[in-house]
């Protein structure tokens, strides 16, 4: 069981690392421009199917754009949204959670109320409403998701801080004459990072899926940007005769989210056993 688990960690790390590299080096990986349309070469199937052409490994879409190029650039969008959302929501959630857990009392009551209020907001509905009001762009999607997805960070950071705050080494730091900011930053934060790392992977997977869902509904990343969710949306009219137009981005999305979750589970086990100290 343990062997399988740590295998999962490596598989997850490989998938996420590979996607990250693809996203970073996207311009070098594809000979084609993901935006260049060529209507005479529409819906060419991938190379291993009948009618495939060697210059388009994954074929072309309904506007004749190279599918591999769009997939590779789409990885950029997904990773960018995943990472930026986690950074934004992590900053908000961890600050609130640590403040509540550390100070307790009235401050904690207020922060708990804010968390509860956030939990009662229907995520997709608000995201849809905001994006349709403000207009869709990459920044708006990141900001909306970042401002909505912090509650798990806050809940976990708050509880972890409460546990650590009462440990003797915090009392010792206090007696040693350390200031409050020093105690929070150096004694408490480093000791609550492991559960937060797991939350970060969960939130990243969720953010990528939500972006895909928003883009599928036409309210996420605006066309012609190559987002995986948008690719599925644009391809859905052709799925009965050219199933690969939705299978290629769909499988990529599945693999990335699966990989992130494996990485998160693996990290959790690793940090729990204390092999990373």
């Amino acid at each position: 069981m343990r062997g399988w688990r740590s295998a999962g960690l490596w598989v997850g790390a490989f998938i996420v690392g590979f996607t990250l590299l693809v996203a970073i080096f996207a311009p070098m990986l594809s000979a084609h421009d993901p935006f260049a349309q060529e209507l005479s070469r529409r819906l060419i199937p991938p190379i291993w199917m009948e009618g495939g052409k060697p210059e388009h490994w994954l074929g072309t879409d309904q506007l004749g754009r190279d599918y591999l190029a769009r997939l590779v650039y789409g990885a950029r969008i997904s990773m960018l949204i995943g990472i930026m959302t986690v950074v934004t929501s992590g900053l908000i959630g961890i600050s609130l959670g640590v403040a509540g857990g550390f100070f307790g009392g009235r401050i904690d009551d207020v922060i708990l109320f804010i968390i509860t209020a956030r939990l009662s907001i229907p995520l997709i509905l608000v995201a849809l409403a905001v994006v349709s009001l403000v207009g869709s762009s990459l920044t708006v999607v990141v900001a909306t998701l970042g401002l909505l997805l912090w509650e798990r960070f806050a809940v976990v950071a708050r509880v972890a801080t409460m546990q650590v705050r009462n440990l003797d080494y915090v009392a010792a730091a206090w007696s040693a004459g350390c200031s409050q900011p020093y105690i929070v930053m150096r004694e408490i934060l480093p000791n609550i990072l492991s559960p937060l790392a797991v939350v970060a992977t969960l939130e990243m997977a969720l953010a990528i899926l939500l972006e895909a869902a928003l883009s599928f509904l036409g309210l996420g990343v605006p066309p012609p940007l190559p987002s995986w969710g948008l690719m599925i949306a644009e391809g859905k009219d052709y799925m009965f005769f050219s199933a690969w137009v939705i299978m290629v981005p769909g499988l990529s999305l599945f693999a990335l989210v699966f990989g992130i979750n494996l990485l998160g589970d693996g990290l959790r086990d690793l940090l729990k056993t204390g092999r990373v100290a």
């Binding site: 003797d168 009392a171 730091a173 004459g177 020093y182 000791n191 100290a277």
Partner: protein
């Protein structure tokens, strides 16, 4: 007469505990009207069973908890008026559990140097020199400085905690059960180290323990706490030779002897545990007292003093 290093005046601490959302909050009296003094170079032992408020008292004296009544003076100055650096230079703690008193993510060097770093204004070679000197003083090899606490044994960890407490050369060390989480074989080493360091550095200890044998070994004066109050206090030798309060007598009788044939000692205390949320009227010890008379459940016994001893019991006079 010199000012005592610690002077605790009528200190009390109550906690409000809420059992449920709509339940009436209960008042738990952890410490109630405690007064004591610690003079330079002395070791004041505080004994009592679990839940009697001795750790709360230690936290109040360290400034980790605000008292709800009374005041604490450290070296003649109000504890609340000291700034954190000044307080750190006067008083330092050694906690019970060396597994929770060291930050698991910091190396031994960073743990020990924390009080120096918090004071500020010291160059890092100077800090390192002081840490190495301190490591040697507590009997650890300087090569341990780069280890993480996870790679040390319980006894080594407690030595690191002691080094951290002493690196600023404080005048008072509050030891809150410093040996009770350690293996028996290590306890004596740590106690001897504490005694040795006290002699060398001229420290005063407030030594909290439930273990009478340990307190008898280190303390010059002993205060016995029961349900948040000091019920008897005397110089260590006199207290162990001539206990006056029935609770002290029972505690002394409860010390286990090495002979297995004797069985468990009979203390006459019964098995009712004291509940700080529900302090009995009259003498707080009367429900468990083997010699209680009718008056004990009615009148609160007065504090009878005859320097240096003190006792709170209707049926006893100070030694």
């Amino acid at each position: 007469m010199t000012t005592p290093l610690i002077e605790v005046r009528d200190v009390g601490r109550q906690f409000r505990v809420r059992a449920g959302l709509l339940a009436q909050p209960k008042r738990v009296v952890a410490v109630d009207g405690v007064s004591l003094q610690l003079k330079a170079g002395e070791v004041l032992g505080v004994v009592g069973e679990s839940g009697c408020g001795k750790s709360t008292l230690a936290k109040i004296i360290l400034g980790l908890l605000e008292p709800t009544a009374g005041e604490v003076l450290i070296d003649g100055k109000h504890l609340a008026s000291l700034d954190r650096k000044e307080r750190a230079r006067l008083i330092q703690p050694v906690f019970q559990d060396p597994f929770s008193s060291l930050n698991p993510r910091r190396r031994v060097r960073d743990v020990i140097s924390l009080p120096l770093v918090a004071q500020g204004g010291m160059s890092s070679p100077e800090v390192n020199r002081r840490v190495d000197e301190m490591l040697e003083r507590v009997g650890l090899d300087p090569s341990m400085a780069d280890r993480l606490p996870a790679h040390l044994s319980g006894g080594q960890r407690q030595r690191v905690a002691i080094a951290r407490a002493l690196v600023l050369r404080p005048r008072i060390v509050v030891c809150d059960e410093p040996t009770s989480a350690l293996d028996v074989s290590v306890q004596a080493q740590i106690l001897n180290l504490l005694a040795e360091l006290r002699r060398e550095l001229g420290l005063a200890y407030l030594f909290i323990s439930h273990n009478l044998a340990v307190v008898e070994h280190v303390a010059s004066e002993v205060a016995v706490m029961y349900l948040g109050r000091i019920v008897e206090q005397n110089q260590a030798a006199s207290l162990f030779r001539d206990p006056r309060h029935p609770y002290t007598k029972a505690l002394l009788a409860s010390v286990l002897t090495p002979e297995p044939d004797l069985g468990l000692p009979e203390t006459g205390l019964g098995d009712a545990m004291p509940d700080p949320a529900n302090v009995p009227p009259g003498c707080r010890f009367h429900p468990r007292c083997p010699v209680a008379i009718e008056r004990c459940s009615r009148d609160v016994p007065a504090t009878q003093r005859k320097e240096p001893s003190l006792v709170e019991c209707h049926l006893a006079v100070p030694a």
